[in-house]
């Protein structure tokens, strides 16, 4: 019994030590319209949401005394840097940020571990992280740039965007993403698109060895071409085949056709070297 009590006391002391070591800091900056906010955080999460008014609010949770937050307001730009002190590592150097910015602010977030999150903004969004999970939702009319090596990327309800995603092996999922340009390049990660390709946009989904699956309603208007050098290509939606193509459309390895109304349509390019490409029909919601 006494051994069990000692064990519980030891666990409690460790937990208390952790809580004591973690500190919270808050910073506020008044900014003008279309401010810029950049956060460079080696270890830890960064979450950005809109604020009310022209103020940037930074809430930082520091996990030890081996990291400090350097902050700088340069003109209309807020720069935040997690400054690792000697001896810091991925655990002790961790800082979690929750940030509120004006909705029209442009943000640049960088974290190796992440996760990185941004939502309900309409300024430009740039997120980079080698292993970070990236989640972006409810963004309208903005440039969205994402770079990851292995972290999964999920975009949800990003409308009228100029979207560019580079992911080496992370899985990329696009739900309701439309815009004049939507481009995803992946080396070995899979790409999933669920939506309707908007109208008059250019969509390019490329993966060297990952699979590409696009699930769209039959009413979608798009000029779709798909090509895989070594993988298989399938389409579930009837297309009006293109009669004049500049590459050989070999059944099972490529297709090129139009769905919906040709007068109002997007251009969709699906390319893989050895992955499978699948154009699926989304069933109507009952």
């Amino acid at each position: 019994m006494s051994g069990r009590i000692i064990e519980l006391v030891a666990i409690g002391t460790l937990l208390a030590g952790t809580l004591v070591a973690q500190t919270h800091q808050e910073y506020r900056f008044n900014v003008g319209p279309k401010a810029g906010v950049s956060v460079n955080n080696a270890y830890g999460s960064i979450s950005v949401k809109p604020s009310t008014g022209n103020v940037v609010v930074i809430n930082a949770s520091l996990f030890s005394g081996k990291v400090e937050v350097d902050k700088n307001l340069v003109g209309n730009r807020v720069e935040i840097q997690s400054h690792l002190l000697p001896g810091a590592d991925a655990v002790s150097g961790r800082v979690d940020y929750e940030i509120l910015v004006p909705a029209d602010a442009s943000i640049t977030l960088h974290s190796s571990t992440g996760p990185l999150r941004a939502e309900r903004l309409h300024g430009d969004v740039t997120l980079e992280g080698s292993a970070a999970t990236v989640e972006i939702r409810d963004i309208t009319g903005a440039h969205v740039h994402v770079k990851t090596l292995n972290g999964p990327v999920t975009l949800t309800n990003v409308q009228e965007g100029h979207v560019e995603i580079d992911s080496l092996s992370g899985e990329v999922t696009l739900n309701g993403v439309t815009g004049p340009l939507v481009q995803v390049v992946s080396t070995s990660g899979s790409i999933q698109y669920v939506g309707d390709f908007g109208d008059r946009g250019e969509y390019r989904l490329t993966s060297h060895s990952g699979n590409i699956v696009a699930t769209v309603p039959e009413s979608t208007s798009a000029d779709v071409s798909a090509r895989s050098v070594r993988g298989e290509v399938h389409d579930e939606i009837p297309l009006q085949p293109k009669t004049h193509t500049w590459f050989v459309v070999k059944e099972g390895s490529a297709f090129w056709g139009t769905m919906g109304r040709t007068a109002v349509s997007s251009t969709v390019v699906l390319r893989s070297f050895s992955g499978k490409i699948h154009l699926r029909k989304r069933e109507a919601v009952k």
Partner: protein, 211 residues
């Protein structure tokens, strides 16, 4: 800070008073001697002020010689989004510009042809892409990257090696397609994208190896 970085930093902070300079000078007799000589020249120059000023041509000649040796260069803003990277990773400073140079070089090697309306033919009409290594193009050396990662973050080396293998496979496959189909603009674009993936790998892998 190494000797090259110290000598470069003397342009902005010429008397070794920054902490990084001081730390290097403590352990490097060659650089200490250089700074001491520069200080001596500077202090002696004050005494010469009363003497006849050399003609402007002399100063111009000195300036030209110093620029040619790279000792002086145009001032640049020191503000950086990622200052910790540039100060810590001396050689990694050239990763991003090297990656940009790599992309430009790929663009030069893979010159776009006018779009052909005919299906792709087997035989190549245009000359084959020369088998130029990434290192030759932009100094990107896989072994250097792995070595750096191994030194700074050994636990990431295996993943970095795996990432390199994937992206090199991508480049090789894309290159083969371009050689087989030189009129295929999409193939050229695919090769460009493959190199972009590799450039991104170098950039982010170095970030991740920060302690």
């Amino acid at each position: 800070m190494n000797c090259i970085e110290l000598q470069a930093s003397l342009v902005e902070i010429e008397d070794g008073r920054s902490a990084a300079q001081w730390n290097h000078l403590k352990n490097c007799p060659q650089c200490s001697a250089l700074v001491a000589e520069l200080m001596l020249i500077a202090s002696s120059a004050v005494e010469l002020r009363g003497l006849n000023e050399p003609s402007p041509r002399v100063w111009n000649s000195i300036e030209i010689a110093l620029r040619q040796e790279g000792i002086i260069r145009p001032q640049r803003l020191s503000r950086s989004l990622l200052p910790s990277l540039s100060s810590r990773w001396g050689w990694a400073r050239w990763v991003v510009p090297a990656a940009a140079a790599l992309l430009i070089a790929v663009g030069l090697y893979v010159r776009p042809h006018s779009q052909s309306n005919r299906p792709i033919q087997e035989a190549a009409v245009a000359p084959a892409i020369p088998a130029v290594s990434d290192q030759a193009i932009a100094g990107l050396n896989d072994d250097d990257l792995l070595q750096e990662i191994a030194q700074q973050s050994p636990d990431l080396k295996a993943q970095c090696a795996d990432n390199l293998r994937r992206v090199n496979d991508y480049i090789e496959d894309a290159r083969r397609i371009v050689v087989a189909n030189p009129n295929d603009e999409e193939a050229r674009r695919s090769l460009m994208e493959a190199y972009q993936e590799k450039a991104m790998l170098f950039e982010l892998a170095m970030d991740r190896s920060l302690p």
